[in-house]
């Protein structure tokens, strides 16, 4: 049954994201470890790589903070299941909590931990309606440490792109050692106070090391990636090794009087996995970065 396939696939995506770090990130950290001068920085990267390999081998979560669960959905308008999806994703989250297991991370301010990773507005689901008969699900659980160092600022439009770039430098410097560097940085520019944050979060999942299709934005990404690495935060904030592994920008049009900028940071464990489900239940899983 198609609904069972969707639910099972969502559970599987949560399992993959918690337990298998995309190999592209692993390769990059391995390369950077070899280039890191300083035993402290190398030891941090080695601990990360050892941890990731134990996780992959045993299908155990690489970090005890398995995050708040989020799904990014692209729903084809001719995919047979539509309004029922919300409920299926909630069910999948509950099952994943038991089956993987992942840590219960949904807290109701008045009643306490819900113990199953679901609650009001959680799992967080981002919907996009697209033409076609397929369903795309991306699972993206995100931990608390790096979530706490996100940043949002409404700049004066007169500050322009220079102001945006300065804010990125400030935000990464402020994150410092707190969110488990080396980081991934997503920058959302324009839109509105909320849209810039969503764009920043989605920017984290743009293909690893692939620059923006707009050459001007691509150049800014390159420039910023170089500059944030000059900050010298280093692996785990101990001053040695890489500070940021990748940085992506997503840009929206803005109000003439507003320049909203959102910055969302991920720890080294940028966990995500994608599946495409066909109308007859064929499932393609994509674990790439």
């Amino acid at each position: 049954m198609l609904s069972k396939i969707v639910e099972d696939t969502a559970v599987e995506l949560l399992r993959i994201s918690a337990t298998e770090l995309p190999v592209e990130y692993v390769r990059e950290m391995n390369k950077l470890m070899k280039n890191t001068k300083g035993a402290t920085g190398r030891a941090q990267l080695k601990s990360i790589l050892d941890d990731v390999s134990i996780a992959r081998e045993n299908k155990w979560p690489m970090c005890q903070d398995t995050g708040v669960v989020a799904f990014m959905i692209k729903l084809g308008d001719k995919f047979p299941i539509r309004s029922q999806l919300n409920e299926l994703l909630i069910k999948a989250t509950r099952r994943a909590t038991e089956e993987i297991p992942i840590r219960p991370n949904a807290v109701d301010m008045l009643k306490g931990n819900t113990n199953d990773n679901t609650g009001a507005y959680v799992p967080i689901i981002y919907w996009e309606l697209v033409p076609g008969n397929e369903l795309e699900i991306i699972a993206m659980p995100k931990g608390g440490g790096s979530t706490n160092v996100a940043n949002n600022r409404m700049l004066k439009p007169g500050l322009g792109m220079k102001g945006v770039k300065q804010f990125v430098i400030e935000a990464v410097a402020a994150a410092g050692s707190q969110g488990c560097p080396p980081y991934f940085v997503g920058v959302g520019i324009g839109g509105s106070e909320d849209l810039c944050m969503v764009l920043a979060k989605k920017a984290l999942l743009k293909p690893f090391k692939v620059r923006n299709s707009d050459s001007k934005i691509a150049a800014i990404e390159e420039e910023l990636l170089g500059k944030v690495n000059e900050l010298g935060i280093g692996a785990m904030g101990l001053g040695e090794g890489p500070t940021v592994l990748d940085l992506h920008i997503e840009m929206a049009a803005r109000h003439p009087a507003s320049l909203p900028v959102g910055i969302v940071i991920s720890c080294w464990a940028l966990r995500h996995a994608k599946a495409t489900i066909g109308p007859r239940g064929g499932v393609k899983i994509d674990k790439s970065a």
């Binding site: 941890d51 608390g144 430098i169």
Partner: protein, 198 residues
């Protein structure tokens, strides 16, 4: 320098450690996050006894994933949580309970640094997120306290460890604070980058 420590770690051994040293701990390591710190200090102030003895042991800023197996509790994943949240009471905690090491991530501030200096304790950094490497160093779950009241991430898990680490000493008993030093450098770099920005 690399050190293999056994708990209870004598104060003299802790006072040998310097910022940047690598430490592995064998013996008792007890998890304690925000709520456990707060509850332990409340009990201390009321003059009541704690169910565990932190003296000479490791205090681990960690909210683990645990699993109940037939033979008792097992660790699934146990990496450090962000330590700065505990800065508000770690100095009092060190003074009251005299642990040998604090284990966490992200570094701690001046108050903790001063308490380390005064009472012979070090703050050590375990690689954030490396929860399975953490679990690998834990040989046995000896006991658990306050589980019902505080829940799995916040309660006191008493672990028996074998060469738990590597831990990087980032606050020593000489006033050294590695993450604070790095933050100073980062801020100087930030100011330069901001000034140069076109």
């Amino acid at each position: 320098m690399e050190y293999y420590l056994k708990t209870p770690v004598p104060e003299a051994e802790i006072r040998k450690l310097k910022v940047g040293d690598v430490v592995y701990v064998t013996g008792t390591v007890i998890t304690a996050r925000d709520e456990a710190h707060s509850k332990a200090l409340d009990l201390y102030e009321k003059g009541e006894k704690l169910p565990v003895d932190f003296k000479g042991a490791g205090v681990f800023h960690c909210g683990p994933i645990m699993r109940k197996a037939d033979k008792g509790w097992e660790v699934v994943a146990a990496g450090p949580t962000t330590s700065t949240r505990m800065e508000i009471f770690e100095d009092k905690f060190i003074e009251a309970f005299r642990p040998a090491l604090i284990i966490g991530k992200g570094g701690m501030g001046d108050r903790t640094m001063k308490a380390c200096q005064r009472f012979g304790c070090v703050y050590t950094a375990f690689t954030g997120g490396a929860a399975l490497l953490g679990a690998k160093g834990i040989k046995k779950v000896k006991s658990v306290y306050w589980l019902e009241e505080l829940g799995m991430p916040e309660c006191l898990w008493v672990y028996e460890t074998q060469d738990f680490g590597p831990l990087i000493v980032s606050i020593d008993t000489y006033g050294g604070n590695l993450t604070a030093d790095v933050a100073k450098t980062v801020n100087a770099n930030r100011d330069r980058l901001l000034a140069e920005m076109k």
